[in-house]
Symmetry: C2
C-alpha cells in the first residue's frame, strides 16, 4: 500500500482552498485557492441586480461548488498524487452561514422562480440585518428565563442561525414556507459531497442553540406563531460529532474532481474549531487561539461549567467526548491594521523604509525596546466591541496616559498590550469558572508575523505560547478529520489523538513568559481590569452615550 493522502477543504469568506496532506506525517503536499466569483454579495443580487438593504451579506452556492471543481483537481495535478490514494475529505466553513434548500438539497436561490428573492440566497456569517430578530429572541428568552442564554454569555448574536431563519419568516414568509429545510453551508457542502445530511455538533451547538436538543417549540412559538416547529419542519435533531464519516463521495463529484467514488467524507466543521487538533491539542487544559484579524479562543474540558460571557459551551463541539468552550475578541489584527492605517505618521514609514522594513516591523522594533509600563499608556481593546466576558458590541476603544512626548511606538505597544489583556481576562474568567488553562497554542496569521506580540501575550498571561508549524492550520485540521473519518482500515486513523500525534506539528520555538515582565504587567492589568469593569459593566456609560449621540446625529443627517 503506497502513501495515502487526505484533502482538507476550507471555505472562507472570500475564497475556498484545498490542501492535500500526507496521512503518515502531515506533510502539506499541495495547496490551491479559488476566489468566489460573486464574493460577498452586499449591494445587489447577481443576475436580477436586485438591490439589498444595508447590513445584508449573502453568498452564491455556485461559488462553493466551483471551488470544489477547481481546487481538488489542481492539488492532484500539482502534486502528481493519484485520486486513488486520497482516502478522506474533511471540510470546514464559516458559520453561521445558512440557506433555504428544497427536498433535493438545491438552494432556493438556484431555482429560477426564487432567484430574485434576497431571502432565497445564502446568508453569510456577517449578514447583520437580522438584528431585530436577535433582539426579539433575546427579549423572549429573558422573559421566559430560557436556560440556554447562560451558555452564550447571556446573548444570542444576530449572526447566528435562528435570527437569520426568523428574518426569512418575518420578511419573506413564502420563501420560508417554500424551503424544505434550512441548513448551515458547512452541512450543505457535506450533503453535496456525499448525499448525506449529517449535521455537525459544532455549528449546531455554537450557532443554533443546540445542547443535546434545541429550544422548545413553545419558545419558538413565542417568537412567531409560524416558527413553532422550525426544528421539526426545517431541520433535524440528528447531530454528529466531528470526525464521523458522513458518507462516501458521490460518483458525479468524483468524476469532476479526479477522486474515487466512495472516498470517506467527514462531518463538517467550523473553521476555527478544526484548527484545534491541527495545533496538536486533543485534550483539556490547553487553549488554542486563532490569531488574525480577530481572535478565537478554544479550550476543552471534561466538565460542563457556567462561565460568564462566553461565545458558547458545546458538548462534542470541538473534540468528541469533551465540552468545548469558545471565547473571542472581535478585533485584534484589525485594531493593529486600523492603527497603522490611521495613526502612524509618515515619518515612521520613511524610517521603516530606510531600515528596510515595513511600518509594523519598525514599530515592533522600537516598541520592543520599551519595558512594560514604561510608556505610561494603556488601552482598552474594544475598537469592535467586546465579544467575550462583557458581550457588548456597543463598547468602543479607549486610550489613556498620553503626554506631549508619547511616541507612535509607545501607542503601538499599548495597542498590542490591550489585546493581550483582553485574552488574559478571558483566561482568568475560564479558570475562575473551573476550566483550567496551563498552556496556549497559537495559530493563524499573527504569530508568524509579530514575535513582539507573541512575547507580550506570553508575558501578560504568564503562560507559554506554542505556535502551530502549519501556515494553514484550519485546512490541515479539516484534512485530519478526513483521515479520522477514513479510519485506520483505509490507511487513516481511528481517533483524532492518533491523527494529531502523526499529522500535527509545532514550531521549535515557543514564547516563554518572563516572570519580571509578568509582575509588571500584573500592575498594568489591575488598571485594565478596573477600567474594563468601569466602562464595561455600567459604572460609566460614556461609550454607549457617545454611540447614541453619534447614531442620532448620523440619523438626522440623512
Amino acid at each position: 500500500m503506497g502513501r495515502k493522502y487526505v484533502i482538507g477543504l476550507d471555505f472562507g469568506t472570500e475564497s475556498g482552498r484545498a490542501v492535500l496532506v500526507a496521512v503518515d506525517n502531515g506533510e502539506e503536499v499541495a495547496t490551491a485557492v479559488q476566489n468566489y466569483q460573486d464574493g460577498v454579495i452586499d449591494e445587489a443580487l447577481p443576475g436580477s441586480g436586485k438591490k439589498l438593504e444595508p447590513d445584508w451579506a449573502l453568498q452564491n452556492p455556485a461559488d462553493y461548488l466551483h471551488v470544489i471543481e477547481q481546487v481538488i483537481p489542481k492539488v492532484l495535478q500539482t502534486s502528481g498524487v493519484s485520486g486513488d490514494d486520497v482516502i478522506g475529505i474533511g471540510t470546514d466553513f464559516t458559520a453561521c452561514t445558512m440557506m433555504p434548500i428544497d427536498k433535493e438539497g438545491t438552494p432556493l436561490c438556484m431555482e429560477p422562480e426564487f432567484a430574485d428573492r434576497p431571502h432565497a440566497w445564502i446568508k453569510l456569517w456577517k449578514h447583520h440585518a437580522a438584528q431585530p430578530e436577535a433582539d426579539r429572541i433575546n427579549e423572549v428568552a429573558r422573559e421566559r428565563n430560557e436556560d440556554f442564554l447562560a451558555r452564550y454569555g447571556g446573548k444570542i448574536s444576530s449572526e447566528w442561525f435562528f435570527p437569520k431563519a426568523l428574518q426569512i419568516l418575518d420578511e419573506d414568509p413564502e420563501i420560508y414556507h417554500a424551503a424544505d429545510r434550512l441548513i448551515e453551508a458547512g452541512d450543505w457542502i457535506v450533503l453535496q459531497l456525499c448525499g448525506e445530511e449529517k449535521r455537525n455538533a459544532c455549528v449546531a451547538g455554537y450557532k443554533a442553540i443546540w445542547d443535546e436538543g434545541y429550544p422548545s417549540p413553545e419558545f419558538f412559538k413565542a417568537l412567531h406563531p409560524a416558527f413553532e416547529n422550525v426544528v421539526a419542519d426545517k431541520m433535524t435533531e440528528d447531530i454528529y460529532p466531528a470526525g464521523v464519516k458522513a458518507g462516501g463521495l458521490l460518483p458525479h463529484i468524483a468524476k469532476k474532481t479526479g477522486l474515487t467514488p466512495g472516498t470517506a467524507v467527514a462531518t463538517g466543521g467550523v473553521d476555527a474549531h478544526v484548527a484545534v487538533p491541527a495545533a496538536t491539542v486533543t485534550e483539556e487544559g490547553k487553549m488554542v487561539m486563532i490569531m488574525g484579524t480577530s481572535v478565537c479562543h478554544m479550550v476543552c474540558c471534561k466538565d460542563k461549567k457556567r462561565i460568564e460571557g462566553l461565545c458558547g459551551v458545546v458538548k462534542d463541539g470541538i473534540l468528541p467526548g469533551y465540552y468545548g468552550y469558545e471565547a473571542g475578541q472581535t478585533a485584534v489584527g484589525d485594531i493593529f491594521a486600523w492603527f497603522v492605517n490611521n495613526c502612524v505618521p509618515g515619518w515612521v514609514a520613511e524610517e521603516a523604509a530606510k531600515a528596510g522594513t515595513n511600518v509594523h516591523g519598525y514599530l515592533s522594533k522600537q516598541a520592543a525596546r520599551l519595558q512594560p509600563g514604561e510608556s505610561g499608556v494603556l488601552a482598552l481593546d474594544w475598537w469592535n466591541g467586546n465579544r467575550s466576558v462583557l458581550v457588548d458590541a456597543d463598547l468602543t476603544g479607549l486610550m489613556v496616559g498620553m503626554t506631549l512626548t508619547t511616541t507612535p511606538a509607545e501607542m503601538y505597544r499599548a495597542v498590542l498590550e490591550s489585546t493581550a489583556f483582553g485574552t488574559y481576562k478571558i483566561i482568568k474568567e475560564l479558570e475562575e469558572g473551573g476550566v483550567p488553562i496551563a498552556e496556549v497554542y497559537a495559530c493563524g496569521g499573527l504569530p508568524g508575523k509579530n514575535p513582539l506580540l507573541m512575547q507580550i501575550f506570553a508575558d501578560v498571561t504568564n503562560r507559554e505560547f506554542m505556535v502551530s508549524a502549519s501556515d494553514q492550520t484550519v485546512a490541515l485540521g479539516s484534512a485530519m478529520w478526513g483521515a479520522v473519518a477514513a479510519g485506520s482500515e483505509a490507511g487513516g486513523y481511528d481517533n483524532v489523538t492518533q491523527a494529531a500525534t502523526r499529522m500535527a506539528r509545532l514550531k521549535d520555538d515557543s514564547f516563554r513568559p518572563d516572570p519580571a515582565a509578568h509582575a509588571q504587567y500584573e500592575r498594568l492589568f489591575a488598571e485594565y481590569e478596573r477600567l474594563h469593569d468601569l466602562f464595561g459593566r455600567g459604572g460609566d456609560d460614556v461609550m454607549k452615550t457617545l454611540k447614541e449621540i453619534k447614531l442620532t446625529v448620523r440619523g438626522s443627517n440623512g
Copy 2:
C-alpha cells in the same frame, strides 16, 4: 505737534521684539526681532561651560540688553520715524523669570567671580528644578493653613518666584547672601531702561504670592531659617499697577538706541496680560484668551471672588482698579502639533499636498464636515496635565470612542473639541464663582490659523469669539501701556480705556455660536465633565498609577 509714536518691547523665550506704534490709531509702523544669542541655557553655562542638572533653564541678561540695542534702532530706521517723536516705552516679559542682582542692579552672573555659578544666572520661567522647594512651600503652607493657597488653586508652582529663590538659598547660599536683591526680569529691564526699581503688580501678584502684601516672615522662616526676611532683605513692598510711569529713559540707553533721554518708561508687565487692552478689553465681563501652544485666560472683575483652581487672582494684576483673574490650559496648540507629528498617517499628508494645503488645513477641512457628536470620539485635553480647575500636572491625555472606522479627521476634531471643553469648564467655574463672562476676545497664533477651532470654541462655550486685529497683540499691548505712561500731555493717553479705544482693533469677522451645535455640545460636555471629575478628582486614579509605574520603570532602567 507731529505724529507721535510708542515702542512696545516684548521679551519672549527665544527672542525679543520691538514694535513701533502710532499713538493716534495704533498703526504698527515697524517691527524688529532679535534672537537671544544664548537662547535657553539648559545644558551648560556660557563661558565656563559648567554643566547643568536636568530641568534647569537659564538665560543671559546680556541677551536682553542686546535686544534693546538692536531692535529699537532698527524700527526707527525702517520707519524713518525720529526718536524725538517716540513718547513712551512699554515692556513685557516672560514670568517668573528672575535673577539675583547686586546693589547697582548688575546680575551676579555678569560678575566674573560668580560667572561659573549656575545660581548666579537668570532662572527662566520654565526652569523646573525648584520642584522640591515648591513641594516644601505647598506642604508648609497647608500645615499653616496659609490663606494665599486658595488664590492660586491650592498650589504654588515650581515655576514661580519663591521656589526659585529658595532653591538658590538651598543649593548655593553664598549666591543668595551675595545678592543685594532678587528681581523679576520684567522689573529688571525697567530698572535698566530708567534706573528705577518699580516692581509691577502683575508679576508680584501672579508669581510672587503678593496680595497687597507678601506672606509673613513666619511663613518664610518655616521654610528655611535664613529665608525669614527674604522680602525685607531681597525685595520691596512697593508694588505698582500697569501703566504707571516708572521713570525716564536713561541717557546712555537713549544714546545707544536713538531715543530721547527722559522718554516715559512704563512699569513692566507679563506677556499674556499686556495683551488684554490690545484686544480692546478694558472692563469686566470680557475674557481675553491668548491662544497658542498653551492658552491663557484672563478676565477682570470689580469684586474679589474665590474660584477653584485658578492660576491667580490679583488686584490691579491686569487692569488698574480691577481684580484680575487668570486661568490656563497647559497645552492646546502643543496637543495639535503632537497629534499632527505623531498620529497623522502619511496618506493624509499626501492628500493634503494634492489639495494644495498642509496637514492641519486638510484635516480641518475634513473635520469641518462633521457634526458635533458625529464621530463618537471624545478626549480629555490633559496631554500636559491640567493647570486650571484641577491644578494637577500628573493628569494625562485620554481618548475614547474609537472604532475600526474612526478616521484621522474624527480624532483631530475630537482633540480640538477637547481643548474647547477645557476652556468651557474654566468659564463655567468662573461664572459659578461670580465672575461673569459674556464674550471672549482671542489673540495669539491660533485664531488666524485655524477657523474651525475658533468656531468649535464659540459653539462649545456658546459665546461669541472676537479676534484681535493685530498679529502681535502682546507687543502692541506693551506699546499701549507706554502711551499711558507718557500721559496725554506728552501726546499719549490718560488711561488705558482711552488708549484701547484709539489704538486697539478687532478683525471684522467674529465667530458666533450656532445654537444647534451648542445644544449638541452640551450633551458631549456632560460626558467630558463627568470624565473630568472621575479622573481628575480621585474617582479613578489610573492616570497617576500609570505615571507612577512609568517613573518606577524608567528609574530602574537607570
